[in-house]
């Protein structure tokens, strides 16, 4: 591999309803380059490999250290964050594409608002009496805390949904990220007070029973969140809830 330059092939689209097209770029190699640094390099010299002046690439990013979840895209076909994708470990030309399961806004930028709408559907929050000072929170074992923390690291990046064979642009499947949040809040002593409402929300259309158990979600999660455990756990919780609904209502 020629270390002096980096070759990139980028799938572009000017507007949501416009046709996508490809462009190739060559930038000088530097140590520790990641995809964001490459895209920034193109901003400073927006010229394709063939010498054509073009608009710089549009993409989302913010923290550049994989905690904000912004810069998810397909890199050599694999969904991941661009900030932690280091050139030294990527085959060239590096192929960049926007995620395919969310509507494209422009170039590599997509609209992930569906993820946040799903969080509303499952009431992914702890209902509190108010923000005034009413003393300490509930006592909780550190073991439960550790379990919750692992789930709470979900940055709504969308990797699990992009990889999921069940999740598509046109259906309303909620996906692993959402199910895992149900588990997170059902594990909290006061959060569990909305447990039944949350379970009801994932028992309808697009809910947990639509999961085909492909188990790819957990493989692509950049935060190693135990998503398949969450799915299994919510599966159990909803089964119990179904029985409860039959006998108690």
């Amino acid at each position: 591999m020629n270390k002096k330059i980096v070759k990139l092939k980028i799938k572009r689209r000017d507007k949501p309803d416009a046709k996508p097209y490809w462009q190739e770029f060559t930038i000088p190699y530097k140590e520790r380059l990641n995809i964001i640094a490459c895209l920034q390099d193109i901003q400073r010299n927006p010229t394709t490999q063939s010498g054509e002046s073009v608009n710089p690439i549009t993409w989302d990013c913010n923290c550049l250290e994989e905690v904000c979840g912004s810069c998810t895209m397909l890199i050599n076909g694999k969904v991941r964050q661009a900030c932690t994708a280091l050139i030294d470990s990527l085959e060239q030309p590096v192929i960049l594409e926007p995620m395919s399961k969310f509507p494209v806004v422009r170039d590599l930028q997509v609209d992930r608002s569906r993820m946040f709408e799903n969080l509303k559907k499952v009431k992914a929050w702890v209902e509190i009496d108010g923000t005034h000072d009413i003393g300490a929170g509930p006592v909780m074992s550190d073991k439960v805390r550790a379990q919750r923390y692992a789930l709470s690291e979900c940055m709504s990046c969308g990797c699990c949904l992009e990889a999921c064979p069940q999740f598509s642009l046109t259906n309303n499947f909620m996906g692993a990220a959402t199910f895992s949040q149900v588990r997170l809040f059902n594990l909290h002593p006061s959060g569990s007070m909305l447990k039944e409402e949350r379970l009801d929300a994932v028992m309808g259309e697009g809910g947990i029973t639509d999961c085909g158990n492909a188990q790819v979600c957990v493989e692509v999660c950049p935060k190693s969140i135990p998503l398949t455990e969450s799915i299994a756990d919510i599966g159990r919780q909803t089964t119990l809830q179904t029985l409860k609904n039959i006998f108690m209502k």
């Binding site: 010299n45 927006p46 923290c63 280091l86 992930r112 992914a124 929050w125 929170g137």
Partner: protein, 646 residues
Amino acid sequence: MPKRKKKIIVIGGGLTGLSLAMKICERNAEVVVVSYQSLKRSHSVCAQGGINAAIDARNEGDSPENHFYDTVKGGDFLAHQPLVRDMCYQAPAIIHLLDRIGVAFNRTGEGHLEFRRFGGTLYSRTAFAGATTGQQLVYALDEQVRRFQHDGAVETLEWHEYLGAVLDSQGVCRGAVLQDLRTNTVFTLAGDAVVLATGGPGQVYVRSTNSTVNTGAAATMAYLQGAKYGNGEFIQIHPTAIPGPDKLRLMSESARGEGGRLWVPRKAGDARPPKSIPDSERNYFLEEKFPLFGNLVPRDVASREIHDIVYNQNLGIAGEPMVYLDLTHKSKDYLEDRLGGIIDIYKKFTGEDPKDVPMKIFPAVHYSMGGLWTDYEADGNGMIEHGSPRNQATSIPGLYAGGEADYQYHGANRLGANSLLSCIYTGLMMCRGIFTYIDNQDKSVDDIPSTTFGDARNHWESRLNEIKAMKGSENPYQLHRDLGDIMMGNVLIVRENKKLEKTIREIDDIKTRFKDVNCVDSTDWANPTPSFINQLYCMIELSRVITKGAIMRDEFRGAHYKPEFDLKQPSDFDPHEYINYLEKKNYGEVSEKAFPEGHLEYMKRFEANNENWLKSTVAEYKNNKPEISYEPVDTSIVTPRPRKYD
């Protein structure tokens, strides 16, 4: 006072914006949260180590009063004291609230909150959620705001940028000019008050621990519209970050709070692998120089020491500008549980595991103590009158600021784990005062002629059109890099007047080159370039505020280090001597013999320096440049004295 519900526009979806929005919803007013990106992705997520509150869970004798003292001392006594004290007294309630809304704080064996050590204090005062505390706090507050959103109480305008305030003929802020970052259309939003919770300006330096959105543009826009900007020259350089070509990634102070040690090989240029260097041949420079605080000296002190080790003593690792941050003596399980988040970051970006090999780190621009000048009202008992409309008010009526965007709380140097606190504290605290402000208005926003809004919109529309039409030869992204290089060169840890004067001239060159910018993208859908060029304009103006403030402040205070004005504290000096000296002075002449040799002279120098320089810097935009004046600091609670950490 309007009969309808009050309407408040909150710019920014980080910790300050979210906590304020939550509070406003609770008080049954209308709130619009404007965010440059999706909520949940703000820079607050980058905060790692924790949030301070003197709950004294470990029975060490800590108290909010100690927290207050450590904070003003850490800030070299440049912070207005009643505000700091009120914040420290509110801190335990804030932690409890965060715990109640579900933050996964680490816990003790009995299931209570766990606390750890942090810099600038001897107490375990920092509550934490692994090493991604900021992220966890943002998520929990975001969830509360989403809950209100679900109930229809809050409107969110994500992917919208704040361009400026709508000012009426009296100069009162009546709303905000916004740009939709998808359609690129400009419009105005009327509100009874506007709050800037827009974070810090790290992008002025380009490479820092900050996120890409941290341009400081919103606060700078307010400054350009006439708001005062305070203490701009006080930029915190964090001692421990991973050097990198695009970003200097933070390695949390909590690494040292959990026992991490800084060291370099004793022999210059020693290129042996770190694990093969025996303890006796390692220089644990902070522990040696500061036996009391050790690796947990405040950030300004640690960064200066690293700079000294690397550049004056030439002891950087293998001659490079780096030192070791070593955690390898701690158990792997412990590190994974307490610091997993930063260990992952280090591994992903360097390929090395800090559990096995010491990290290589260097200081990086991290936080701005300075920001928009904001007011407050003390209650006369060393606390804040929470209902006062003056709290967090900028000098433009109706325009408020909080979080990193304001200049309060941290003085000349911020202590670790106090930023999450000041962000949430300001967000929660300012709510009542804003309501009072709205109630006190004779004229409401409903009485303002629509032309005021139309004019503001037209102004910004044509401004962006002008930018789009710029077809010069300078690439704006490259120009930004060049500005960053200039600022990194001379407005960092060590500051010298000659170099700062040169920096001002270099910034002027950048300003000239800006006129020749080429707007490399002039399309009209989701086009970030015109917006970036406008932000670049702001960053250039803000770099002038920072640099001019630095030139004029001829002293050494906190993060602002001018070696020329170092007061040279004697190594055996005890800060209590200064209190003793002040008392003796009250009773008449102080004899030279009352103190060890050289100490009286030093204390006189210290006293004289405080008379000259214990004051806030205030920059105002006049005649197209920053005009600097100074204001007294409220030191009514503890007497400013020399800092000492050894």
